[in-house]
């Protein structure tokens, strides 16, 4: 990684000064892939595990599934897409819209569930 001219490497640019970051290596990626596999397996298990099937455990199941999905999402974005290591501007450009989307669309879903005194 000696050639910096084209800015294709992670950590290029404004954040390049933060050389302390350990850039992911192929070995790291393999570990991440295994982790993703494990979480996916866990997710599938959550959705069939007997102790989560009773109706009163549904909220717990949904929480666990959403938590697992969030972790997978964060791992892919953070490591595979280098967002954790790249210039901060990328993070702002992606995370801010993501948050606004979740909030606004969440309110839309909530509002479509309202049927007043029908």
């Amino acid at each position: 990684m000696t050639d910096h001219r084209h800015g294709s490497e992670p950590g290029h640019g404004d954040s390049a000064g933060a050389a302390g970051h350990a850039h992911p290596t192929v070995k790291t990626y393999t570990g991440i892939a295994l982790l993703l596999f494990a979480i996916t397996a866990l997710e599938v298990w959550f959705s069939v595990a007997p102790f989560l099937q009773p109706p009163d455990r549904r909220p717990l199941m949904i929480f666990l599934l959403l938590a697992a999905a969030t972790i997978k999402f964060a791992i892919v974005v953070g490591w595979f897409m280098h967002l954790k290591f790249d210039a901060p501007v990328y993070r702002r450009l992606f995370v801010a819209p993501l948050v606004v989307t979740i909030l606004a669309e969440g309110v839309v879903v909530w509002l479509t569930q309202i049927h007043l005194r029908a």
């Binding site: 049927h115 007043l116 005194r117």
Partner: protein, 340 residues
Amino acid sequence: MSNSPRPVRNVAAAVATSLLAALAGCMGDAPQSTLHKNSDLADMTWGVYMLVTWITLAVGVVVFALLAYVVFRFRDRGEEGIPEQVHGNTRLEIAWTLVPLALVVAMAIPTVRTIFAAAAPAPEGAVKIKAVGKQWWWEFEYPELGVTTANEVHIPAGVPVAFEIVSADVIHSLWLPQFGGKRDAVPGRTNHLTFTARDTGNFVGQCAEYCGDSHALMKLRLVVQEEADFQRWVQEQKAPAQGDLVASGKPGPKAFLEGGCIACHQVRGNPIAAGRIGPDLTHVASRGTIGSGILDNDAESMRRWLRDPEGVKPGSLMKLPHKLSEQEVETLTQYLLELK
């Protein structure tokens, strides 16, 4: 009539009323004016309406005064050099952030209070009316009274009425300006409008949500009556129509039967005239208007309507099986005007 206004608000409201009435006076009499109020709901919103109107007017006056002063005072008079380069003044800017914020809060509090007050469920004993928006007319059903009518809704004064507003096709909006604003008729949903009317009389309203070709012609009448008159009206409406279409042998019922009118229209008392697509005609002659409030209910209007519904109401869904002859028009007109 829900709250007794304080003196200050009274005066302000009076001034506002006279000011707006003066403006309204310029344009003659507008029966659908939002400034006429004839229900507790309209009174309830009136306080907020006036408060916000006054605050915004006051802000407008301040801004315009400032703008006029600045434009006049600081115009270039050909002085030498450049003016002092002021980049800003944080204290001033915080001030004119906080003042609007305070005004917003002042408007938001009564607003929120009114929203929740107006959303209260209908009290016991309210007259229930189901208002169905259709392209392009209104059907009113009194489920507890067994009455169905079209485009003309009667309510008793001093008694709460609870409208359930639904739609049969596209989105409409039931707008009764004098009674506290409008509510949409959304297909698949039920909206509610509850109020108690004050004065008796005839009032007009209109569909407010664009709903297709003849949106402009989707008007309605609201008749506020004394309780006793209202009960009498209910009894009249509940009665079946006079005469039997088949047995009477008269030309009118015959034309109604053979002209295909029964496919869409109901004339109660006649099981074969049970169509629900068009307005219920059992007591059509008792109504003040036809064509959803756009024509006076007289022989001339009826002829006009029967000759060419599409011409009176563009896009009208009243498709005649064939163009009616003048003879048929006359016969049907006579028959319909008998359906008191």
